[in-house]
Amino acid sequence: MIEARGLTKRYGDLVAVNDVSFEVGSGEVVGFLGPNGAGKTTTMRILTGFVPATDGTAKIAGHDIFEDPLAARRAIGYLPETPPLYPEMDVAHYLTYVARLKDVPRGRRKGAVDRAMERCGLADVRRRVIGSLSKGYRQRVGLAQAIVHDPAVLILDEPTVGLDPIQIREIRGLIAGLADSQEGGTGHTVILSTHILAEVEAICRRVMLINAGRKVLDGPLAELTRDGQRLEDVFTRVTLSDQAEASAGGTAEAAEAAQ
């Protein structure tokens, strides 16, 4: 579903994303982990076409993000770090607008909007103005706009940041539900970024760890925590040893060594 090859993004001298490659298969749920400033948001923005890569490319559902950007974007549902909402619109109008932008055919638009609202628990607030909703509900609207066109790939950037513990549980539940196969088909392919380890353990089956722009770890969650190791320890160890290697002039081998 996602095929990223050598993604690199430079901001002047700063290399925000450094030669990152990975593949995500259909129906996989990947936790994209890394400390703040690691390059998670930048990687996701490249995949969604919001910022162009300096180098490398990616395919989403078989469509190259540079050669066929519109088709690639049609296959993606994206929840940015701050949900892209118009505070003056009501929930149903907003989602209908997004459905139009995402090329949901006119005849199917109402059904798509109703379904997204139902899945995200928004049916009761469909006529409420978005600006009057609580942060948790706004996050749900953000999630609903990401799934309204039933995309093959979901890219969620820190979907629970800034929420209270109860809201966090609700949103995690929603995401887990989206990932599960529905109505007989396979579920959405999901990449979800976070720096909260518990989130990954709660939802994801695969972990990808990024640090200082480089991918340092990638594997099934079960494997990483196989010998009773806690994810937190793995995270800390790999991140720290990677930093030590980097300052000692080392290269990506650090990741292999740590594994």
Partner: protein, 265 residues
């Protein structure tokens, strides 16, 4: 171009849920009404004076087109120059502060669809304002008999000037995320465009630039003032129509380029 309607529709809807749109419409109606009345009363006074002094030659020259409609349009043009930046300042800047830019730029739409949709929305709003000017002018036809073609070509001129201002304002809104900066940037651009012909006149008068030199001529060419006045006098020239098309096109292309360049920064 199938997303243009969605983008323009959302923009207009958002304009009309905010009280600002109604405030602008009301304010414009009041201001237009005031200046319309002032022009009519001024005309009345001139006629009365001419009759009193039996200045029949002068009286014969007085007519609604040149002495009511033309000054009225002229003032409305200045009012629009200050009002259009307020209408366009949020077009793109607010998408950036909302974070909705990220939705737009990751949707399967083209930047042209976005730019045209925004331009259309603001243009429709501005056409409402120009429409009011048209309604006031229409009142004159009940009480006198101004020349319709002249009144219509002047209104066309006002429309084209206003649309070119919308294009300039769109560009200003696309280069910043701050609406206030967008407002002042478009105001400054519009004032510069407006003053070009005056500066050309002054420069030529003072001998600083040759009145038929390249500098003076290109300044004049870029300025919309002379063209607008031609149209108020009832002279519709394809060259002037092409000029407004050129200005609108240029600033929309600049808008698109500025949105793209943010992407490639």
């Amino acid at each position: 171009m199938r997303h243009v309607g969605a983008i323009a529709g959302r923009e207009l809807r958002s304009m009309f849920v905010s009280p600002v749109a109604y405030a602008i419409l009301t304010l414009f109606a009041i201001v237009a009404g005031f200046f319309f009345l002032a022009s009519v009363l001024g005309f009345d006074a001139q006629v009365a004076e001419a009759q009193q002094f039996r200045a029949f030659d002068y009286l014969r020259q007085l007519n609604l087109n040149d002495h009511v409609i033309a000054p009225f349009y002229g003032i409305m043009w200045i009012v629009l120059l200050f009002l259009v930046p307020g209408i366009t300042m949020g077009l793109f800047a607010s998408e950036k502060t909302n974070g909705t830019q990220e939705l737009l730029m990751t949707s399967p739409i083209t930047i042209w669809e976005l730019v045209i949709g925004k331009f259309l929305a603001a243009s429709l709003f501005v056409l409402l304002l120009v429409g009011m000017v048209g309604i006031f002018t229409g009142i004159l036809f009940f009480f006198g008999d101004p020349e319709l073609p002249k009144a219509a070509s002047g209104l066309l001129g006002l429309t084209l000037v206003a649309l070119s201002y919308v294009a300039v304002g769109s560009f200003a809104s696309s280069v910043t995320r701050n609406q206030l900066i967008a407002f002042f940037l478009s105001l400054v651009l519009l004032l510069i465009l407006w003053m070009l012909s005056i500066v050309a006149d002054l420069g030529a008068g003072g001998g600083a630039i040759a009145s038929d030199g390249l500098v003076s001529r290109s300044m004049r060419w870029l300025s919309s003032a002379d063209r607008f006045e031609q149209m108020v006098r009832g002279l519709v020239d394809t060259k002037d129509l092409a000029y407004f098309g050129f200005m609108i096109g240029t600033f929309l292309i600049l808008t698109k380029a500025s949105i793209e360049s943010v992407r490639w920064r």
